[in-house]
């Protein structure tokens, strides 16, 4: 996206190859050259690292109500202070990050699997193309945020009863986000599969009697990996934003179970007194999404064969 397109297939001249280069090696070299993507990678993995291992070092229970220390400022025991119930803000943000990232990544995986299956089937089997694409169009025309809120509200109690308060809501939110965000992936994948299906190597595979299932897993899937990876990054960003929006509207996880969106929502009433309570988790959401978006941008450039290998 940052570069104009070069003529495809321009020979790489003047470089003496020291060793053989693989496709993913090329991609990595190109990706490393994208400054934004590298910074994004660094920040994203820093956040993941902090969220994963932070609670092991900072061992304050995020839900413990320490009334005597409520509304306290920065200190060694409470690095970011405490809220109006005396809960440690830093521990809450770390714990909330675990939930938000887990929701984001799981929902992305779900959307990716559904989108890829629909896309591959629509592209590969002609008789499925019409119905599946109409289905995709129908889903694209659904008002997703309202519907998502409605579904969360309606099915919350059932799932809570079936799987326990936290797991139930987790399954519900991940499921709902996954089911409402696979359409873009499906469209992109279908387009690529349609083009790949006509290529000679697929024809060759078919002519020696390879069954469709093996053609898909062996020849089609590896070749559509790059658009899938790009939509994976977009999917994480989208899922984290959606989850935080749902939590912000008060329909997400239960109140004693922090997520970033929930923390912003709970603390927005104190925005005049203690703006940092709401702003720290909001910054965490924004930074994560921003870094993921930059990674996606870099990946798209690195996987674009017209730019790569310059």
């Amino acid at each position: 996206m940052t570069e104009g397109a070069l003529p495809a297939g321009q020979p790489v001249t003047g470089i003496v190859e020291a060793q053989s280069r693989s496709l993913w090696g090329d991609v990595w070299v190109q990706f490393r050259g994208h400054k934004g993507a590298m910074v994004g990678c660094f920040i994203f993995f820093a956040i993941v690292f902090l969220v994963l291992f932070g609670p092991m070092i900072h061992t304050v229970d995020p839900t413990y109500l320490d009334y005597r220390a409520k509304n306290s400022g920065w200190s060694l025991t409470h690095p970011l202070g405490t809220d109006n119930y005396g809960r440690d803000i830093f521990a809450q943000v770390l714990q909330g990050g675990r939930t938000s990232l887990a929701v984001g990544i799981t929902a992305m995986l779900l959307a990716l699997i559904v989108g890829t299956i629909v896309g591959v089937f629509a592209g590969f089997f002609r008789w499925l193309d019409g119905p599946l694409m109409r289905l995709t169009d129908l889903f694209l025309a659904l008002p997703l945020l309202p519907l998502l809120l409605v579904v969360v509200m309606l099915f919350r109690d059932t799932l809570r009863a079936a799987f326990g308060p936290e797991t139930g809501i987790f399954i519900l939110i991940v499921g709902v986000i996954g089911v409402t965000s696979w359409m873009q992936t499906a469209r992109i994948v279908r387009g690529d599969v349609l083009a790949l299906k006509e290529r000679e190597f697929v024809l060759a595979a078919r002519s020696i009697g390879t069954p469709s299932r093996r053609i898909i897993t062996r020849h089609i899937l590896p070749n559509i990996l790059s658009p899938i990876m790009v939509s994976a990054t977009l999917g994480i960003a989208n899922a984290i934003i959606t989850e935080s929006a749902v939590s912000f509207l008060g329909l997400g996880f239960p109140p004693d179970f922090p997520t970033w969106g929930r923390l912003v929502s709970d603390n927005q009433n104190f925005i005049g007194l203690n703006p940092q309570w709401a702003i720290i988790p909001a910054v965490a959401i924004s930074l994560t999404v921003l870094s993921v978006n930059f990674i996606g941008d870099g990946l798209r450039d690195a996987l674009d064969p017209r730019i790569r290998g310059r």
Partner: protein, 336 residues
């Protein structure tokens, strides 16, 4: 073109029916009981009668058809009656009633529609006014400092959720500076310049929050589209025949680059209505989004159903508008 528009309009009808059916099913499958919130002292017979009075006695397909009849036939007829003063038939029709307020849902929607339309509409206008010049300059001066900063800022605009920008604006402009009110006062009436100014001030923040997110998107598309056009042959021709650089860029390139951008704007508008749900919640604007949240919290099924369907109608309508506009603006596109 007219032929195409009519065909698309006809195709929109089954789509909308399918969507309304899906929404109805989702709400119907929900395990909640609408009488669950009533006091426990109500005997079961009375409870059953309440359920019947809410229209829950019939089997699912009949309820769906009745809702369709109420929404697609009765409500439009009522509107015609109100506008023209005629009486069609007996004038007595069943309307879609909200469970919590017992008033017709359409009346509630009509009451709240102007606020949402104002905020969303203004935000789109502001977004276009900001985004188009940014896109033009960053494409014309590709890789300049301006372009780099523009890219970075639009990336932030993509990534920062609307509730965060809203909170930041409240902290800065309401809490710290005290310039703008943080709560939207809907009872405010514009009568003179003073009250107009108050209206402008209270609309500023909700509008800006929605506009920021849209600006990021439009300016990226504008830049990409300008870059595509700047290298075209007709631009070289225009320069070669001695036109001033200004008219080459502003007239020849800009007009052609606007074609895909217009469709992007139209396609984005339903998303802005979604964003408006959150923005209205932050600034306490009593628009459609807030009505939806109220309905969801109160388990007011008919209200939620109708509102969700109205959002779906908006999406389908704007998709149609985008496609038709594309065909009108770009003579190379032929749908037939």
């Amino acid at each position: 073109m007219l032929n195409y528009t009519i065909r698309r309009l006809l195709f929109a009808i089954p789509t909308l029916l399918a969507i309304s059916f899906i929404i109805f099913i989702v709400l119907d499958l929900s395990p909640g009981d609408p009488t669950g919130n009533l006091p426990l002292t109500i005997p079961p017979e009375v409870r059953e009668q309440i359920r019947l009075s809410l229209g829950l006695g019939e089997p699912f397909p009949i309820r769906y058809l009745k809702w369709c009849q109420q929404f697609f036939i009765n409500e439009p007829l009522n509107m015609i009656e109100q506008w023209t003063g005629w009486t069609i038939g007996s004038g007595e029709r069943l309307r879609v009633l909200s469970w919590s307020t017992r008033s017709p849902v359409v009346d509630l929607v009509v009451e709240r529609m102007p606020q949402t339309l104002w905020v969303v509409g203004m935000s789109q206008i502001v977004a276009v006014i900001i985004a188009v010049p940014i896109g033009v300059i960053s494409a014309y001066k590709q890789y300049s400092i301006f372009d780099q900063i523009g890219t970075f800022i639009s990336m932030i605009g993509f990534s920062v959720p609307t509730f965060f920008t809203g909170l930041i604006l409240i902290v800065i402009f309401s809490v710290q500076l005290g310039w703008l009110p943080s709560v939207y006062d809907t009872t405010h009436r514009v009568t003179d310049w003073n009250s107009f100014w108050v209206q402008v001030r209270q609309m500023a923040m909700p509008t800006m929050v929605l506009a920021l997110a849209t600006t990021a998107q439009i300016s990226r598309f504008m830049r990409a589209s300008m870059l595509d056009n700047l290298n075209q042959d007709y631009v070289r021709t225009a320069r070669a025949k001695g036109l001033r650089e200004r008219s080459v860029v502003m007239i020849h390139v800009l007009r052609n680059s606007m074609i895909p951008v217009v469709t992007v704007i139209a396609l984005g508008i339903p998303g802005v209505f979604g964003g408006a749900i959150i923005t209205e919640q932050i600034f306490k604007v009593n628009g459609l989004g807030q009505l939806l949240i109220l309905g969801i919290q109160g388990a007011d099924i008919p209200l939620v159903q109708t509102l969700t369907f109205i959002f779906a109608v908006l999406i389908v309508m704007f998709n149609l508008i985008a496609d038709v506009l594309y065909g009108i603006l770009d003579p190379r596109i032929r749908y037939d």
